[in-house]
Symmetry: C2
Subunit: 142 residues, 2 copies
């Protein structure tokens, strides 16, 4: 295989929901993300410099979308997906308290072999959303 | 709503595949990611500091997983998902050439209103993988 050109990381992470309004109440209201784009098929949230959370209306992105700039390939997903937010270790207690104050039930909490901790909650559509504090992965140690 | 504690960004982005070996040939061999974890249900790849791509064996993560550190909630997904890598604008041509050299067909190419460009390919399981160069989102302008 030839040597790949450089990547800078992941720009877009996607989740699929049945109800964009309910998802917005969670991702903007509870999680605190700023919405950058609002269409009838997609809300896009700023999760940090060069990072975007795409919340797709399930079933609205199956077909390819023809734009003036080219064809956006279709995709879709059934079933509860998963992604994780990165938090600082000293923000575990504030996040526990915040989620409780918002009425969001903590589904579970995991202590990892490396010593870090993850808080798991369901978004309104049942997607498994994790708030993870280091040390956890080899590239996320603190 | 109370004010949310700070988030540092997205730690984990997930994709679901039917064949981990074929996925590895793509994500390690073609894309060039380093694998940090290899189990029978999950490969995890380093996509940059504090960023991980999780490649799940479809159907192997539906049930909750009980560990010594707590319960990892189950999740799963049917259908081709989507995520995007961030690349520099001057790496579009190298990525076009590299994907072609690897025999990966470019499914489409989109020029965005802000001026950036995305290259779309399918991974071996049909997940829609995007290589996106700025300017594109309000927080990804160059």
């Amino acid at each position: 295989m030839p040597t790949p050109p450089p990547l800078q990381g992941i720009l877009e992470t996607a989740v699929y929901v049945d109800d964009l309004a309910k998802a917005h109440a969670f991702y903007a209201g509870v999680v605190g993300l700023e919405r950058m784009l609002e269409t009838d098929r997609l809300y896009a949230y700023d999760t940090g410099p060069g990072e975007t959370l795409l919340v797709f209306a399930r079933g609205q992105t199956i077909e390819d979308t023809v734009t003036d700039g080219g064809v956006i390939p279709g995709h879709h997903s059934e079933g509860p997906g998963h992604f994780a937010f990165r938090i600082a270790a000293d923000q575990l207690d504030p996040w526990r308290a915040h989620l409780a104050a918002c009425g969001v039930t903590l589904r579970s909490e995991v202590t990892w072999p490396a010593g870090g901790t993850s808080l798991y909650v369901d978004d309104p559509d049942g997607n498994v959303v994790e708030f993870a504090a280091p040390p956890l992965w080899a590239n996320f140690m603190g």
